[in-house]
Structures are given as structure tokens and as C-alpha cells.
């Protein structure tokens, strides 16, 4: 039996390869449009991740780098559900996040921003979605930071998300923004998304129902991966 086909990707939902206000795309955007083909077995499969690759602190960025002591910054929970376009929860998705520290500095050999590194903060986490598609991280709210694009461009506070779903063609890498951040509207990367409703989907609302009193605030980010096409009249090689 063939695996269920994927719904074709709605590319209007995504930022175009060439987004002139985001200057790095100028030399990195293919000129040819991508060749659209139905996914084969090579794209309908993908790496399978089990609980054995997840350590107990992997989703706790407050503790997973330094072990003891807390990083500087606003303590927050980031949580949500991973669904597909058919509105079904997607379990066992590897969710990986990375982010700057509270001062807007990344712990990366090539980041030279003048804000200091935080000895208590690494800046990455990973987890697997549960049977209901749910995931959660504990971290600090990252700071905004300047970047070389325009003369005075600042990234809004954001957390990078990488999702590895069941099929390699469902792979998604994106960024989550925080409700109410005035830098979102000024960001060439965020605003490369053509549809305002698309950008809205990346802005996590404050979620007081998941906040822990006298401990941390919470933000909710639900994520949708590509779905499957219904196949009531699929052409069958063996004949119908």
C-alpha cells in the first residue's frame, strides 16, 4: 500500500524566496521556480525520533546549560500543539528551539553583538510532541537585537522553531514572535510573509491559563504541518 499523499504546499502561505527588504535573500534566492512534483517514497518517509534521544532537561532552557543557577531574564513557558492541515494532532514530532539570551546575544561562535553572554544560558532545547501533539519548553524571553540589513534594523524578540514531522516533506523551520511586540511590524523577515493572517499565525499570545503564579508567564504557539490528501478515487496501479 502506498502512503497517503501529502496536500500540495500552498506556497503563497510562505515568504517568497526573494524578499528585497530582507537583503540576504538577494544572492540566495533561486531564480528558477521550484519544480512541483508529488512526493515520492523519499519524501513521504523521514527520520523517526524516539523518546530515547530526549534527555530529562532538554526542554528546560532554564537548567539545561548551566545545571544550577538561573539565567537572567523573564522566566516563561512556551507551549502549544502541533496539528496537521487536517486538524489532527501530530505525535512524536521532534521540536527543536533556539534563541538569543535576554540581552539579545546568541551563544554562537560567529555572533559578536556587544550584549554579554549569560553564563547560565545556552539557548537551545528539544522535545517530542505527546499523543495529543502537545509540547512545552521552559526558558527566558529573548531580547531583541540589531542586525546588519538596513541602517537600524532590529529583530523582534523571537524563538526559532524546527519541526521534524513524520514525512521529510513536512519539515518546517520557522520563528515565533511575542504578542504586542512593536518591532514585529518593522521586521523585514517577519513581513516577508505575504498574507497578514500568515504572520498572525507566528505571533504567540500571552496565555495566563498556563502561567504559574509567582513563577513564570506563558505564551502559546500552535503549529500546523502539511496535511494529507483524501484519496477516495485514487488511480490504482492494479486497476479499480
Amino acid at each position: 500500500m502506498s502512503p497517503a499523499p501529502l496536500l500540495p504546499r500552498d506556497r503563497r502561505r510562505h515568504p517568497p524566496a526573494l524578499a528585497p527588504a530582507y537583503k540576504s535573500t538577494a544572492l540566495r534566492a533561486p531564480r528558477f521556480p521550484p519544480l512541483s512534483l508529488p512526493a515520492t517514497l523519499s519524501e513521504l518517509t523521514g527520520p523517526v525520533f524516539g523518546a530515547d534521544v530526549i534527555g530529562p532537561l532538554d526542554n528546560d532552557l532554564l537548567r539545561n546549560f548551566a545545571g544550577s543557577g538561573s539565567p537572567i531574564g523573564e522566566r516563561i513557558i512556551l507551549h502549544g500543539r502541533v496539528l496537521d492541515e487536517n486538524a489532527r494532532p501530530v505525535p512524536d514530532v521532534l521540536v527543536e528551539i533556539w534563541q538569543a539570551n535576554a540581552g539579545g546575544r546568541y551563544r554562537h561562535v560567529t555572533d559578536g553583538y556587544l550584549a554579554p553572554l549569560d553564563p547560565g544560558f545556552g539557548g537551545c532545547g528539544r522535545t517530542l510532541t505527546d499523543a495529543d501533539g502537545g509540547y512545552a519548553f521552559r526558558t527566558i524571553r529573548p531580547g531583541p537585537y540589531p542586525w546588519r540589513n538596513g541602517g537600524n534594523d532590529w529583530r523582534p524578540a523571537h524563538v526559532h522553531f524546527s519541526l521534524s514531522g513524520p514525512a521529510f516533506a513536512q519539515r518546517l523551520v520557522t520563528q515565533m514572535y511575542f504578542e504586542g511586540d512593536p518591532l514585529i511590524a518593522r521586521c523585514p523577515i517577519a513581513n516577508a510573509i505575504p498574507d497578514p493572517a500568515g504572520l498572525e499565525a507566528l505571533i504567540a499570545p500571552l496565555d495566563m491559563t498556563a502561567a504559574i503564579p509567582f513563577d513564570c508567564l506563558a505564551w502559546r504557539f500552535d503549529i500546523v504541518l502539511r496535511g494529507r490528501r483524501s484519496t477516495p478515487f485514487e488511480t490504482r496501479p492494479e486497476g479499480n
Binding site: 519544480l35 512541483s36 527520520p47 533556539w98 545556552g122 521529510f168 517577519a190 499565525a201
Partner: protein, 209 residues
Amino acid sequence: MTPPRTLAETPSQTAGPYVHIGLAPEAAGFSVFETALGQPIAGPEVPGERIRVEGAVFDAAGAPMRDVLIEVWQADAEGIYPHPADPRHAAAASGFRGWGRVVPDFDTGGWAFDTIRPGPVPDPVRSPDGRPMAPHISFLILARGINLGLQTRMYFADADNTADPVLAAIDPPARRETLIAPRTERDGTPVYRFDIRLQGERETVFFDF
């Protein structure tokens, strides 16, 4: 029965220049996780021809991209994927992962990975006659300046690629060559060179699978 589409996919955003923090923290200069993901693609016990694949990703100015992160996905030597959607997955080689993350040298942009040569993969969707796809490795390219990860494939110059249904769909046919990696040998190991050009002359074919 599959329910209808009622939600829209979450939009992509660039992985940015610091993608390695999240997906390959050791390359970023620190470690957090007990288990490093992404290597090896094929453990030492996996049967098959041992090969090395190397290359660089070039931008439109011809500069090798030093901040890229590549994911690869491939079948084992029998053309089987270790994933339940492959009808033969139970027979996949023991210790075979098939998936890897590849980080370039941050100074030169050159990258390389070791694996086994994949076998031909059945294509039940488009080849009802059972004709397989030629051996190939799937690539996903993530980097600053790439808003939606780029999907492509590497094929092997010393394989028979003439009947491959994916290569056959590429028009003009001259562009098929951008996906075919030439073979050399170094210290007795086959080395395939796969240079990826994002834009301009000999621009690599990218897919929207």
C-alpha cells in the same frame, strides 16, 4: 478516510545565521544535549558500499556559504527507508539511520559526510510498472537568506539515471546535470562531489515535493 483541509500550514521563516545553536550545538561551540543527533547516517555495521559525499553551497556571487545547515535523508543499500510508510521498512538494515545533519567548515564553507551508497527506491506513486527511482540522497538546505528550506536531490554519476522519473521531469533536460555528482576516489574510498548553486549559472534544480 482523511478529514478535509481545515487549517493552513504555519508559515516558514529563515533558519538564520545561528541555526547551528538549535540543530547542531556542538558546531556552534557548546553542548547541551546528552544525545547528539544527525550522525552517523549509517553505523559501522550497516552493509553497503562506503562512500563520502562532499561539496559546498554557493550563493549568486559564487561565494561558498559558511553559515548553511544541510539535512540529508536516504534509503539503505537495498533502497529501504527505516520509516513505517515504507512497506519494506521492517527489513531496513540494522543500525541504519538514513538521516544526517551536515555543517560546513565555518571558514571555508566546505562540507562532507560519510555514508553508504543507497539502493534504487521503488516509486509506487508514479511508476506502477515497478520501475524504481535511481539511487539518490535527499537534501534540505537551511540558512540565513533562505525563507523556505530548499529541497533538492543528489544522484550518482556512475549509476544509470536514464529512467529516473524525477530527473525525467526536469525541463530543460540540461538542468538535470546539476543534480548528478561526479565520482572520484581518495584512499580507496569513492568520493562524490555535489556542489549546490542557489542562483545563477548552473543553478541547482530545487523541488517543491
